[in-house]
Symmetry: C2
Subunit: 261 residues, 2 copies
Amino acid sequence: MTRITPFVMAKPMESPTSLTHGAYAKLRAQLLACRFAPGEKLKIDDLCRRFEVGSSAVREALSRLASEGFVVSEPQRGFRVAPLSVDALSDLTNVRCSIEELCLRGAIEKGGIEWQTQVVAALHRLSHTPVWADKAARRYSEEYARAHEIFHEALAAGCGSPWLLHLRATLYNHSERYRAFSGPLSKVDRDLDREHREIAEATLARNSERAVTLMNQHLQMTTKVILDSVLAGEPAPESAKARPGDAHLPESLPRKRGAPA
Amino acid sequence: MTRITPFVMAKPMESPTSLTHGAYAKLRAQLLACRFAPGEKLKIDDLCRRFEVGSSAVREALSRLASEGFVVSEPQRGFRVAPLSVDALSDLTNVRCSIEELCLRGAIEKGGIEWQTQVVAALHRLSHTPVWADKAARRYSEEYARAHEIFHEALAAGCGSPWLLHLRATLYNHSERYRAFSGPLSKVDRDLDREHREIAEATLARNSERAVTLMNQHLQMTTKVILDSVLAGEPAPESAKARPGDAHLPESLPRKRGAPA
DNA sequence: TATTTCAGGATTATGCATTTTTATTTGCAA
DNA sequence: TTGCAAATAAAAATGCATAATCCTGAAATA
């Protein structure tokens, strides 16, 4: 009965195979986009109505998101959106630099023709995607964010280490949450196109030292822009209702999960 | 009403604040100890009876464990124990070497007196804990495994980076699962005490290069011993019932979680 | 003013109904 | 009689609604 499908592009439409997974994906996307304020209480019933699913699905989605560090679970008090903090962003950026360096060096050493091709393709897509969704508000467009993610993932993919790529993706997603939180970005004219192009060129030229240096500068600069935006201007651009809680106070983000049995 | 408690040791008895968390902790402990065979089907009802909780609690525990990579979730087909593979162990070990190196260098650079003290204490505890639970079977005792974990965690803790320590703990736990899977360890006389002591000495002496070299050798040697044990002797020592599924075939372990919304 | 009690609300846990998957059996044809 | 396929039955996973437990906050009392 399986009809022959001529060609299938890489999953153009997501099929939420189960309500649980659908709720998880939607909630996760809204969390990453900072549609919920950090520290905000996530009431089960509200989420049930919002996503039109039962409490089981919502609870399961929240559990997974909690173990990923995007929400925090207090034993008998329900769930809250994981807080953001300057210290956590600083730590996150530093660790991310280290991990991206490992990926980059591995990719330069082991990457083959397929990897090179994907990097070139991703760079092309990125440089031909409009950066700003709202020129006045200076906020990135959804398409640009996606192309940016694909570009960085393509660079790292060459290392061929599933675990390293998994760690990298984790850190990238958490960084994205900070970027989404930041308001209109500072006016310093940053030639993102040039940064990405130079990183790609140094990488494809197998110049590890230069590639790593450029990548670190790229990541630290991004963090600096975000911090400037948050500390200077208004913190939240269009984050939803409810109490904003703590926005940027120094506290740790990824709390340790129970190791002892 | 809070009665004054004279002294409280570090949580001698776990208080399962909720049934869900209790089931999660128990299941996780059994997973890490390889009480379930890799690839084995995890039936909800069986787990309900085994842990004496409802299906919600079990489902939630499985969700969290799935996002941690200890079980895999197939959309409408339930959950299975995450498979193990030689390739995955190899990758895991390599990445772990890199992460432990980052932790170690950071700790040597930034660790203070408190860190040094904890390292010395952990080394003392480790060297005075009996290694073998069953001398004949050559299997580590529970106490030794715990002391070993504390020792390595103490070494890394000095780096002071929450994110780096989180990544390290993740990799350590997955490595533990492989160690628990391996049968009786090979007869090569390995002076574990000496290895740990030399690592600690080099670290406390702020000798980064030597400490990192020794740590890498330590980790790679552990992996080699495990591989020898698995490839040579009988694969599973006392793993529970049910079909063992695939034990050691080359496949990837940490499958990517859905990034696209 | 501090403590206690009580009501409201939210989270947690359970059991059942629905839907999908899988295994077995039956029927038909070679 | 054997092999394949469809249909049926069993089992399991998913989703939902209800019940019980716990926390939060305010009112009342000492």
